[in-house]
């Protein structure tokens, strides 16, 4: 049953003042963990101070969990140390590979959707759980390329990893929206194929179209407003997920005034509430 949905923003230095001035309207703050792995002591202390004022969730961007290659122990230990210091309510990482053969991609790349990467991800998640002490939430990624070497669709691949691990899904609805438009599938069908009780967090963001005519793709750039269809997907999740959700808006640049982001958060609250209401009405009708 729903305890209490939480709505928050991704922590970025340029948003710091706005976030700190509006903690009464922001339930949770998501912090990029990697920014603090080698941060000076005073910055880590500032993060602990923030964590004392508001619930924090840590978000990793460089583990590369969805790979047939084992994640390096030292990377997991860095995450474990930070989690130990900050005591976040949760931590998360992406279902992506970020390096291969000694090359850093510099991006969250979608791996081949195969049994090898499912097995690799499940093994990496087991190690992450053992070293950090808590299983991460795992996030679906946006991709501009249909990953070569894939033998199943994204919903099947994500569901299999969830079913074989202890990790819940951090469902990035703009990533889903972008992939659905770029590769022509129905995002609501995707949501219906994920066990709803395993969706525990949501990311919202915006993007832009890139590419030449006839070969355009929607890029998830976190530089634009959350588009309407993403709120509609959020309502769908609100109608299906039985447990409390943590909803985070990610904005990495082209920052609007903080009030604008707070309005987006309010819109997200209303979308989840509509979904919850639909679920309640359906339960009464049944």
């Amino acid at each position: 049953m729903v305890d209490r949905d939480r709505f928050g923003l991704g922590w970025r230095p340029k948003l710091a003042l706005g976030i700190l001035s509006n903690l009464d309207r922001i339930d949770i703050v998501e912090v990029i963990a990697d920014d603090f792995f080698r941060a000076p002591r005073r910055e880590r202390r500032a993060l602990r101070t923030l964590a004392a004022q508001t619930p924090i969730t840590l978000h990793g961007v460089s583990l590369g969990l969805a790979s047939s290659v084992a994640v390096e122990t030292k990377r997991l230990e860095q995450m474990a140390r930070l989690c130990g210091e900050v005591e976040p309510v949760s931590w998360s990482e992406h279902l992506a590979f970020v390096r291969g053969g000694g090359i850093e991609i510099g991006h969250l790349a979608a791996p081949p959707r195969s049994s090898a990467t499912i097995d690799g991800a499940v093994a990496n998640l087991r190690r992450a759980r053992a070293i950090v002490g808590v299983a991460p939430q795992i996030e679906n990624v946006a991709t501009l390329i249909d990953p070569p070497g894939s033998d199943r669709d994204e919903a099947t691949w994500v569901s299999e990893i969830i079913r074989h691990s202890e990790s819940d899904l951090l469902l990035d609805l703009h990533n889903l929206h972008a992939n659905a438009l770029n590769f022509n599938f129905d995002p609501v069908d995707f949501i219906s194929r994920i066990p709803p009780e395993r969706i525990s967090a949501i990311h919202l963001a915006g993007g832009k179209w890139i590419g030449r005519k006839g070969a355009q793709r929607l890029l998830d750039d976190h530089l634009h407003d959350v588009p309407d269809p993403v709120y509609e997907l959020l309502e769908e999740v609100g109608a299906r997920a039985p447990q409390a959700l943590t909803v985070i808006i990610e904005r990495d640049g082209n920052f609007p005034p903080i009030e604008w982001l707070i309005d987006e958060l309010e819109r997200a609250r209303r979308a989840v509430a509509r979904g919850r209401q639909r679920a309640a009405q359906k339960a009464i009708a049944a």
Binding site: V69, G101, H107, A109, L144, I145, I210, A215, R217
Partner: protein
């Protein structure tokens, strides 16, 4: 090993312009040279070329933006 070979090969063609150009000029022979399995070679010759170009351009601009 073969699955990690595929990930390494993808990382190279996503990031390195020269490797990518060679691959796009002759995908089969470059994939064979990289030690991919016969099945992986068949998959990768059908690569989504538009997606590859857009991804590479996006990575390049991200890298430049970071400097």
């Amino acid at each position: 090993m073969s699955d990690s070979h595929l990930e390494s090969f993808l990382a190279r063609i996503y990031v390195d312009e020269t490797t990518r150009a060679k691959f796009l000029a002759d995908p089969r022979s470059e994939a064979l040279k990289a030690g991919l399995t016969a099945e992986q070679v068949e998959d990768i010759v059908k690569i989504d070329r538009d997606g590859l170009e857009l991804l590479a351009a996006s990575l390049k601009s991200k890298k430049q933006g970071r400097r």
